[in-house]
């Protein structure tokens, strides 16, 4: 039993159960997909795509749902949004003939840039996620706390520790002599 819905008859192919499921969750899927859809995208088509994915191959995807691990509403929203995004990606691949592209745009600039690699383990996954939510999604501390199901004070403390690590890391990084500076100094001495 998931959120009051018995999926047993549904995944056995019971038509009445499927109709009931569609009526119950069409509104949810519509709401989930609406935010992902770009302007001009047919939202109804995207919802249809989600339902089609759920019943495809003898309800293969729906059979993977485990009510003991997560709520059906949560799971359906995640499935709906990822399906809609995939569908949009497939349908909106823009192709421009190479002759229509100005030559200047096709020219490849020979710029050898060494990517700077920072130690990935500097921040813990939780710290990275908190900073992502605060600075990339512009979420409030209380919103982050609600999303992570932790206390707002824990969010503040996680943020504080993460920023300390970053400041220390970059301070050390800036004090260290750069290779080109060292070479220039050596040349002057020589």
């Amino acid at each position: 039993m998931a959120d009051g819905t018995d999926l047993g008859p549904l995944i056995r192919g019971d038509k009445t159960a499927w109709d009931g499921f569609v009526r119950r969750y069409a509104g949810l899927l519509l709401a989930a997909v609406r935010v992902v859809a770009r302007d001009g995208a047919d939202i109804d088509d995207l919802v249809q795509e989600v339902f089609a994915r759920l019943c495809k191959d003898d309800f293969r995807l729906l059979k993977t749902y485990d009510p003991t691990r997560a709520g059906l509403t949560t799971w359906l929203t995640i499935v709906a949004r990822s399906t809609a995004r995939d569908a949009l990606r497939r349908h909106h691949v823009r192709v421009t003939p190479i002759d229509d592209v100005p030559e200047a745009q096709l020219a490849v600039e020979d710029r050898h840039v060494e990517p700077i690699k920072f130690p990935d383990e500097l921040l813990s996954p939780r710290q990275k996620l908190v900073l992502t939510m605060l600075y990339e999604r512009d979420m409030e501390v209380t919103e982050v706390a609600a999303a992570l199901k932790i206390d707002p004070q824990t969010v503040r403390s996680t943020h504080h520790k993460a920023m300390l690590k970053l400041r220390t890391h970059f301070a050390v990084d800036e004090r260290a002599p750069k290779p080109e500076d060292a070479a220039a100094k050596a040349e002057r001495r020589g």
């Binding site: 192919g13 038509k15 499927w18 109709d19 569609v22 009526r23 069409a26 509104g27 949810l28 519509l30 709401a31 989930a32 609406r34 109804d44 919802v47 249809q48 339902f51 089609a52 019943c55 993977t64 749902y65 485990d66 691990r69 997560a70 709520g71 509403t73 949560t74 799971w75 929203t77 995640i78 499935v79 949004r81 990822s82 990517p115 700077i116 690699k117 920072f118 130690p119 990935d120 500097l122 921040l123 996954p125 939780r126 990275k128 996620l129 992502t132 939510m133 600075y135 999604r137 501390v141 609600a146 999303a147 199901k149 503040r156 943020h159 920023m163 970053l166 400041r167 890391h169 970059f170």
Partner: protein, 173 residues
């Protein structure tokens, strides 16, 4: 949490680190069920760690989970159009009138009955094999015109001497 100046500095630091760290960040997407469990707060710290590491590098997925949390809390007010519902319902066809769904009977034969059936079949195979062997055992002797060395009871039963029938015929005449 912090003043505007602090925030600008913090954002700049985070973006600077992000540019470098994102080079190495990659990995397989966690299963949808795992993501849903994370959104519902049903993962322990050890289980949540790899999911959060992945989410920090996949903003779209993070947005999906945050939306799922929001929608789980408040039932969506949007109602779907009847045409959309009908299209989705049609994805699972109902059986035509002339097709009857056959189901396996719920009551199966008891074990003892099935044992008797298989036992009877095995016994009849054994008897048939023995009879065939007995009949075929004397075949070479019969072709050679020699009487069988010893008449077995089974042979007598299946191939009675001619005198049995001739005695009956005498009595009839």
């Amino acid at each position: 949490m912090t003043g505007p100046g602090d925030r600008t500095e913090s954002v700049a630091l985070w973006q600077r680190w992000r540019q470098g760290a994102s080079v190495t960040a990659d990995g397989a997407a966690p299963d949808t069920m795992v993501l849903a469990a994370w959104a519902d707060g049903r993962l322990d710290e050890a289980q949540a760690e790899p999911v959060e590491a992945w989410l920090a590098d996949h903003p779209d997925a993070l947005a999906d989970l945050l939306a799922a949390q929001r929608l789980a809390l408040s039932a969506p007010s949007a109602s779907a159009a009847e045409a959309l519902i009908e299209r989705a319902c049609a994805l699972v066809p109902s059986l035509p009138d002339n097709v009857v769904a056959l189901r396996r009977s719920g009551t199966r034969a008891p074990l003892w009955l099935s044992a008797i059936r298989w036992g009877g079949l095995a016994a009849s195979l054994v008897v048939t094999s023995l009879v065939g062997f007995e009949l075929g055992n004397d075949a070479y002797a019969n072709f050679a015109g020699q009487p069988p060395a010893a008449e077995s009871a089974l042979h007598e039963l299946l191939d009675p001497p001619l005198s049995v029938f001739s005695a009956d015929e005498d009595q009839a005449t």
